[in-house]
C-alpha cells in the first residue's frame, strides 16, 4: 500500500498560528465541529453525503474535533498522522466523498472557527487554518484517488456508487429480512472479506440516506446478501428496506469495507459469538469456513429472544452438518410457548461465560464477537476474565443507527 507522505511545506508562520490555537480548540473543539456541521448541512446535497445517524449521539462531531485537534497538535510533525489519514481516507471511500466536496467543508470549518472563537479568530489565524486545511485535504484527495484506482483495478471492483438490483428478498425471522443484491450492469462483484459491510444509498421518501450493513453471505463474484433487522425506533434505513424495497427494486452501494473479518488462513479454532442481528458477519464467516476450511474447528454460538426472532437457523445447521467440525448452539432468553431446548434451540437464557468455557475451546480459539453494545461490553470483559488474551478477541459493534464512525 502506498501511503502519501506529508511534505513539510507549511510555512513556519502558518504552523505557529495553528499551534497557538490548540488550547482554544481543545476547549471548544466539539462546539466548533457541531457548529461546522450545522453550517455544512444547510446545503442539502452535502447533508446527504453524511450518515445522519452518527450526528445524533454527538460521536461524529466528537471524532472530527479529535481529528482537528490531533492535526493542530502535530502540525510540526505531520508524518505522525499517517495512520489517521489512512483511516479517514478509507471512510471517505465508503461514503464516496469526492474532491469537489472539500471546498464546502473548508467553508463550514473556517466559518465555525470564526463563529466560536469570535474576536480571537483573527484574519491571520483563519488564513493559517485555511492553508493547513488544504494541506490535509490534498493529502486525503490524493490517497483517496489511489485507493479508488486500486479497487477499480480488482476483478469485480468499482468506483463510488454502483447500482444493484434486489434479486431476492427472504424473510429470515419476524424482524430480519435478507436482500440478495446483484449489479444492475450484469457484471461481477468484488468478493468481500467475510465480516465486511456494504454501504448502501437509499432513496427514501424522506430523502437520501446511507447505511452500513454487514454482508451475510460468503465471498463470491456474483452477488452480495445483507440481512437487516427492522428497527422500529431507528432512523428509517431498516424501515425503508423492510417496508418499501421489493424484488426488482434498485439501490446503490460502494465497495465492501471494514477491518473485522476472518483471515484468509485461520490458524486457530474459531468461536463466532453473536447477539441478535449481530449474526450477519458470522453467517458470512460460516459460509466461508464451509467452503474453504473443511478442517477448521468452528463454534457458532448465537443468542436471541426466541423462535420468532431466530434468523437463518436452518441454513446455519445445514452448513454445520455438511462441514463436520462445526458446532452450533443457540440461546433463547425469552422462550415463548412451544419453544423447547433440543427442539427449537439449545439452551434457555443468555449465553454465559461458564457455558462457553465448558463447551468451546476458549483456551486456544480466536473469538469473534458481534452484537449490541451491552453484549459486546459484557463478553469483552468476561472473555478477558476467563483468560482469553486480547490478541484472540475480535469484536465489532452492530446496532441500530448508531455505528461508531470517525470523521
Amino acid at each position: 500500500m502506498s501511503h502519501a507522505t506529508p511534505r513539510p511545506v507549511l510555512s513556519e508562520a502558518t504552523r505557529a498560528l495553528v499551534r497557538a490555537s490548540v488550547p482554544a480548540l481543545a476547549e471548544h473543539g466539539t462546539l466548533i465541529t457541531t457548529t461546522m456541521y450545522r453550517r455544512l448541512f444547510q446545503d442539502a446535497s452535502i447533508r446527504a453525503l453524511f450518515n445522519q445517524a452518527n450526528q445524533d449521539g454527538g460521536s461524529q462531531p466528537a471524532a472530527l474535533a479529535g481529528a482537528i485537534l490531533a492535526y493542530a497538535r502535530h502540525i510540526d510533525d505531520l508524518g505522525a498522522l499517517t495512520g489517521a489519514v489512512e483511516r479517514m481516507a478509507q471512510k471517505h471511500i465508503a461514503y464516496h466523498i469526492l474532491p469537489e466536496h472539500y471546498p464546502s467543508v473548508a467553508k463550514a470549518l473556517l466559518g465555525a472557527i470564526g463563529e466560536v472563537l469570535g474576536e480571537a479568530a483573527t484574519p491571520e489565524l483563519l488564513a493559517a487554518w485555511g492553508e493547513a486545511y488544504w494541506f490535509l485535504a490534498d493529502l486525503l484527495i490524493a490517497r483517496e484517488a489511489a485507493i479508488r484506482s486500486e479497487i477499480e483495478a480488482d476483478a469485480g471492483g468499482w468506483r463510488g456508487w454502483r447500482r444493484f438490483t434486489v434479486a431476492q428478498r427472504i424473510v429470515e425471522s419476524e424482524l430480519i429480512v435478507s436482500f440478495v443484491l446483484r449489479p444492475a450492469d450484469g457484471g461481477a462483484v468484488l468478493p468481500h472479506k467475510p465480516g465486511q459491510y456494504l454501504t448502501l444509498r437509499l432513496a427514501t421518501p424522506q430523502g437520501e440516506i446511507k447505511r452500513n450493513y454487514s454482508i451475510s453471505c460468503g465471498p463470491n463474484a456474483d452477488h452480495y446478501r445483507i440481512s437487516v433487522k427492522r428497527e422500529a425506533q431507528g432512523h428509517g434505513g431498516s424501515r425503508y428496506l423492510h417496508d418499501a424495497v421489493a424484488v426488482g427494486d434498485s439501490l446503490e452501494a460502494t465497495p465492501p469495507s471494514g477491518d473485522f473479518y476472518l483471515p484468509d488462513a485461520p490458524s486457530r479454532p474459531v468461536v463466532l459469538l453473536s447477539g441478535g442481528v449481530g449474526l450477519t458477519p458470522m453467517v458470512s464467516m460460516l459460509e466461508t469456513i464451509a467452503a474453504k476450511h473443511p478442517q477448521l474447528e468452528t463454534h457458532y454460538v448465537h443468542g436471541t429472544a426466541n423462535s420468532a426472532s431466530h434468523a437463518m437457523d436452518a441454513h446455519v445447521r445445514r452448513l454445520a452438518s455438511g462441514h463436520g467440525r462445526m458446532r452450533v448452539a443457540s440461546f433463547y432468553c425469552e422462550p415463548r410457548g412451544g419453544d423447547a431446548p433440543g427442539k427449537t434451540h439449545d439452551v434457555d437464557g443468555l449465553i454465559d461465560i461458564a457455558w462457553l468455557r465448558s463447551n468451546t475451546p476458549l483456551d486456544q480459539a480466536d473469538v469473534y464477537l458481534c452484537g449490541p453494545r451491552p453484549f459486546l461490553r459484557r463478553f469483552v470483559q468476561e472473555l478477558a476474565q476467563a483468560g482469553v488474551p486480547g490478541e484472540r478477541i475480535h469484536y465489532e459493534f452492530f446496532g441500530p443507527s448508531d455505528e461508531a464512525l470517525a470523521a
Binding site: 479529535g66 490531533a70 497538535r73 502535530h74 453494545r373 461490553r377 486480547g390 478477541i393 475480535h394
Partner: protein
C-alpha cells in the same frame, strides 16, 4: 464524574482496547516487549482509569516515568494510533457521552506524555491528569 459510567464499563473498555492494541501491527510489538504480565497490566490500567474517571484512588504510579523507559521506541505516530484505537473502542463499547468523556481524557494524557517524552524529563504526574 458521569452518572452512567461504571467500573465494569471501564474494565470492559480497557480489555477491549488492549485486545485491539495487541493485534495492531505497529503498537502490538511495542507493547509485547514492554508488558511482561498482561493480567497485571490490565488490572493496573483499570485502576488507572477508575482513578481518573471515578475517583477510585486505586492507581499509584508514574505513567510518565514508565513511558520514558521506552522512549526510544515510542514515535509520535504511535500516540495517534493509540488514540485512534481508544476512540474506536470507546465508541463501540460505551454510550456516546461516556465515550466522549474518556476520549477527551485520553487526548490530554497523550498530550501530556508526548510533552514529557519530548523533554526527556520525569515530572511528577500533573494534578490536571490525576484529579478526576
Amino acid at each position: 464524574m458521569l452518572p452512567d459510567l461504571t467500573e465494569a464499563d471501564l474494565r470492559a473498555l480497557v480489555h477491549g482496547f488492549y485486545a485491539r492494541v495487541r493485534q495492531d501491527p505497529e503498537l502490538g510489538p511495542v507493547f509485547a516487549d514492554a508488558v511482561a504480565d498482561w493480567d497485571e497490566h490490565l488490572q493496573r490500567l483499570t485502576d488507572f482509569w477508575t482513578s481518573l474517571m471515578l475517583g477510585s484512588g486505586r492507581y499509584r504510579g508514574h505513567p510518565a516515568g514508565v513511558h520514558l523507559a521506552h522512549a526510544a521506541r515510542i514515535r509520535p505516530a504511535l500516540f495517534q494510533r493509540w488514540l485512534a484505537l481508544w476512540r474506536r473502542s470507546s465508541d463501540e463499547l460505551l454510550p456516546p457521552a461516556q465515550a466522549r468523556a474518556v476520549q477527551e481524557r485520553a487526548a490530554r494524557i497523550a498530550d501530556h506524555l508526548q510533552r514529557v517524552l519530548a523533554a526527556r524529563a520525569v515530572p511528577a504526574f500533573s494534578d490536571q491528569e490525576s484529579t478526576p
